[in-house]
Amino acid sequence: MQDFIQHIINGLNLGSIYALIALGYTMVYGILQMINFAHSDVYMVGAFAAYYSAKWLKIENQPGPGNLFILVLIAMVVCSLLGVAIERFAYRPLRKAPKLNILITAIGVSLFLEYAGQIIFGAEPKVFPEILNNDYLFEFAGLPIKTFDVTVLAVSVFAMLILNYLILYTKIGRAMRAVSSNANVAAMMGVNVDRIISFTFVVGSSLAAIGSVLVGMKYPKIEPLMGMMIGLKAFVAAVLGGIGSLPGAVLGALLMGLSEEMVVAYFSSTYRDALAFGLLIVILLFKPAGLMGKSTVEKV
């Protein structure tokens, strides 16, 4: 029984990281109706930005919440800039083009970031600096709960609450919802669509950056291809929850994390990755709108 609870804790942890990245996918899809393949690679760049800045600022071996905060901030800035740049130069020219073209471009950007990363950062894994001590905090149901577990959950929840507030209770959030509903009409209402889209990318990329620093903290091995698998799984999570829906992305991600943990624990670890795809296929075939999405009718 204790093991089961441990698995639940592990799964929730995994899920919250997926959630941070899934939110980015779902927001961009909601607003641009495109899958931003490059999102997971922006995430990867965030991890490396944190790595190099830790080296540069010489705070590599000084764990502490202050340093965590600094690195997260730096990663967020770098990722936002990168996200906005990608949107501006690769996606904006194709706004009127067929969907297929944007998809291919997104794949191109993703590959470019991965391979340029391998050249610039080197392909062998790097060791992420220690930014927090994993101390024993308290006990829950007989299991030791440590700093990392709490931090990941706390930071993720905090980020999601802020995002929720942003979308529902601010003016810019309302503009984002308007553009995602109908960009043309929003423009007629005086919304600067381009700017809102850029802002969406900023928010999405920042969340990914937070995720990357948390992942670096928990699993200190980083390498240029680290985004691939996690990006795919986060995307599946977003689809599972209903792409375009923010609470759906979080729900889907938590489910994804939990099921992955259970499959590895009780079934076989080699099917861990295939589970993500299997889930995706099942969802798309039977309930393509996801758990919290709405089925739309395509008008001719």
Binding site: A97, L100, N101, V109, L111, T270, F277, L280
Partner: protein, 334 residues
């Protein structure tokens, strides 16, 4: 009726001449590269049928290649005593079997997936490709993660008066399949039945309204495309002599996508040119690579994808074929 075979036979003879020229003219490594070009040709042309002519985006092509490769490798392992002509003909059979199994998989994957549109179809096909790969990792009788090594390659053929070296016997088989693929797709798309592929690409709803069974059309394209991907896989197994699940990753599918996109979606000539270019590019880049010390290949490919999509989305050749250009520029109609 015989008229239908005129062009294929001429092309076959031309290819044969090229092959003999390569055998005597260049070293073993370049010969190997030529075989790789043929394998990539099959992948590019077959994917073009789905991505280019039918307008459906498939990212799982490597999965079908894997099915064909493993089938052929497995079958050949069952007959270790075959050599010479027996082996050559058996390989024809085993590769064809690989293609057929791939086609069946294509049907199984396509039937449910092709109801989805655009982005979703891409992700689902990617998913299927990965599932096939993970399944192979878990199949110990197929070598699991270690794959299958020492796969027999095409043998040298002893005709009595002369011996055909193994390169030429491989080349013969490879050109057969390439020509088959080319002419099947070429003729199919230009037939009246084939227009349905294009109609699905242009406007699916209108096509459905005109009575075209769009799902069946898409599945048809998918099945044919998977068949040839399986053939490509089978050929690869016998040329490289080693396959493992990590040979058939998402990146391999992306390779084929790059060839189709760069060459031109809807142009077989484009696919041919792109395949030749992409296969030989690493060699051309080798000098630059030794100078800079890094592998720039994928960086260049990905950047070209982006630039092509922004600047010339139709790709190098767009929807035109070499023969259209010939007719337009060289032989103005009177």
């Amino acid at each position: 009726m015989f008229n239908a075979f005129k062009t294929p036979i001429i092309s076959a003879l031309a290819l044969l001449a090229v092959g003999v020229g390569f055998y005597f003219g260049v070293n073993a490594y370049v010969q190997l590269t030529l075989l790789y070009v043929f394998i990539n040709l099959l992948m590019a042309m077959s994917l073009n049928l789905v991505n280019g002519y039918t307008g459906q985006f498939s990212l799982g092509h490597a999965g079908f290649m894997a099915v064909g490769a493993y089938t052929s490798a497995y079958l050949v392992q069952q007959v270790p005593s075959f050599t010479g002509f027996a082996l050559w003909f058996f390989l024809l059979f085993s590769i064809a079997a690989g293609g057929l199994l791939s086609a069946i998989f294509g049907f199984l994957v396509g039937q449910p997936s092709l109801r989805l549109k655009g982005d979703y179809l891409a992700i689902v096909t990617l998913g299927f490709g990965e599932i096939i790969r993970v399944a192979l990792v878990n199949m110990d009788f197929l070598g699991g993660p270690r794959g299958i090594a020492s796969i027999p390659s095409y043998p040298a053929l002893n005709f009595g008066i002369f011996e055909m070296p193994s390169f030429l016997s491989t080349y013969l088989a490879a050109s057969f399949w390439v020509l088959l693929c080319f002419f099947v797709i070429w003729r199919l798309v230009r037939s009246s039945r084939g227009k349905s592929f294009l109609s699905v690409r242009e406007d699916e709803i209108a096509a459905e309204a005109m009575g075209v069974d769009t799902t069946a059309t898409k599945v048809r394209a998918f099945v044919i495309s998977s068949f040839f991907a399986g053939i490509a896989g089978g050929l690869m197994a016998h040329v490289v002599s080693y396959i493992s699940p990590s040979t058939f990753t998402f990146l391999k599918s992306v390779d084929s996508v790059i060839m189709v996109v760069l060459g031109g979606m809807g142009s077989l000539t484009g696919s041919i040119v792109a395949a030749v270019f992409i296969t030989t590019m690493p060699e051309l880049l080798r000098g630059l690579q030794e100078f800079t010390g890094v592998d720039l290949r994928m960086v260049i490919y990905s950047l070209s994808l982006i630039f092509v999509m922004i600047l010339r989305p139709k790709g190098l050749f767009g929807g035109t074929e070499a023969i259209d250009l010939w007719r337009k520029y060289v032989k103005p109609s009177s």
